[in-house]
Amino acid sequence: MKPRQSNFWKVFAVPLVMGLLSAAGLFAALLGDGVWDSLSWIGLGIPALFSLRGLLKKT
């Protein structure tokens, strides 16, 4: 069972961080303006940038 578990974290570690970033971003702007808004741009911007980078990789 052990190698499977490490597999799970190997695959899901980065996506989990992305998920937490987005969630924090979505929530931050609900709490206030200014800095809170900027936090939300970072939280939502990073996943968007990763997607863009994947799309633009040279064929």
Binding site: K10, V14, M18, S22, A23, L30, W41, G54, K57
Partner: protein, 377 residues
């Protein structure tokens, strides 16, 4: 994961996505301009300009505004008064033939709060943006349309969950964000589907779930009327319908006294689905950033102007209130709107690549079958 388990999840992912894809594509495409509805209205000249006047020009009181509205649309009655977005010197008015008229048959316009001058807001009553909105909300099919879209939203959530489960076997031997460009178009799009799908997952889930909640709004409002409102207006059951309403002049002050620390958001006139036949309802919002999305109604007797009750706020009305910003993406300035649009387009790419991958795999499967058939023939 056993190959049988993978096949089961794969089946769930394929069919939940395929069924909802057409609807989701429509929602993503119509949602795109809606993110920028405010900016588009200004660009098209559909946003009324309030007259320049000295800053200390006194405002009319509420009853005078009611009279101005009634003069503007004779034969109609007030349904709602609300704030005008970005326009402190104006109020939004919604009127219709009767107070109980359904929202799509109402007429929305702006009133200059100092002069009572009516300013039309064409995009709230027709045109391209309203067309997009109606497609997005109910496909011009009323409650059945909303519920169908809610169901599609649930399928979308199921597709996201099953897709996340499948991410594990697909990515076991690959590093995060691997895109294999050198092998085949199919592999490239499979990798992109997995990458974009997994990084936009949280956003898509939140927008999906809040969309489902908003699509059920009619049902939630009906439940709220039954539960919270029902008990409070019980003493008024059987009371004759009002022929004359007490003046609206002091409504906001009365509501502020009844709900200290809160600010008024909108007023529902008697007879609408947000009030009762015998009450004005002033909806008060919280004073912090977070609680400003949560509305507490103050019911005010429409003949005596006494406060009947400050209504309870059941959890599902709070869920509905919080769903709005989280679905619209309008709470973090222009950069957030742009990100919302980007994530929307990325979702379109995930949906499109999903269909492409399904078609390619089906073709491949058919080819193998053909080859096998030829071999046995």
């Amino acid at each position: 994961m056993k190959s049988k388990t993978i096949r089961r999840w794969s089946f769930v992912h394929t069919w939940t996505s395929l069924i909802c894809t057409v609807f989701l594509l429509m929602l993503a495409l119509t949602g795109l301009p809606l993110i920028f509805h405010h900016e588009i209205d200004h660009l098209l000249g559909d946003a009324p300009e309030v007259r320049e006047m000295p800053a200390d020009t006194p405002r009319l009181n509420l009853q005078q505004l009611v009279q101005a509205a009634e003069k503007h649309r004779p034969g109609e009655v007030m349904q709602y008064f609300g704030e005008a977005e970005d326009e402190p010197n104006a109020v939004m008015a919604i009127m219709a033939k009767t107070a109980g008229t359904e929202p799509n048959s109402s007429h929305t316009f702006m009133l200059d709060a100092r002069t009572g001058e009516a300013l039309e807001t064409p995009s709230a009553n027709g045109g391209f943006m309203l067309f997009m909105l109606r497609l997005h909300v109910d496909m011009f099919a009323g409650l059945p349309g909303k519920l169908l879209l809610a169901f599609m939203g649930i399928l979308f959530v199921a597709a996201i969950v099953s897709g996340t489960v499948l991410y594990l076997p697909f990515m076991r031997r690959l590093k995060f964000a691997t895109v294999r460009n050198d092998k085949s178009t199919r592999l490239r799009w499979l990798d992109l589907h997995n990458l974009i799908g997994v990084v936009t997952l949280t956003w898509a889930l939140v927008v999906g779930v809040t969309g489902v909640i908003s699509a059920c709004a009619d049902l939630l409002i009906a439940a709220w009327r039954n539960e919270a409102l029902g008990a409070m207006i019980e003493p008024y059951r059987g009371a004759p319908p009002l022929t004359q309403l007490a003046p609206a002049t002091r409504l906001l002050d009365i509501a502020k006294e009844a709900a200290p620390g809160m600010t008024p958001d909108f007023i529902a006139f008697p007879g609408t689905r947000f009030s009762s036949e015998h009450h004005y309802a002033v909806f008060m919002k919280g004073s912090t950033h977070l609680t400003s999305h949560l509305l507490t109604p103050v019911l005010i007797d429409a003949s005596t102007l006494n406060v009947t009750a400050v209504a309870e706020r059941p959890w599902y009305m709070d869920a509905m209130g919080m769903s709005q910003p989280l679905h619209f993406g309008d709470y973090g300035g222009m950069p957030m709107k742009i990100l919302w649009a980007a994530l929307d387009v990325l979702t379109i790419i995930v949906l499109g690549s999903g269909v492409y991958l399904w078609v390619v795999r089906r073709k491949a499967a058919k080819k193998t079958l053909d080859v096998e058939a030829q071999a046995t023939a």
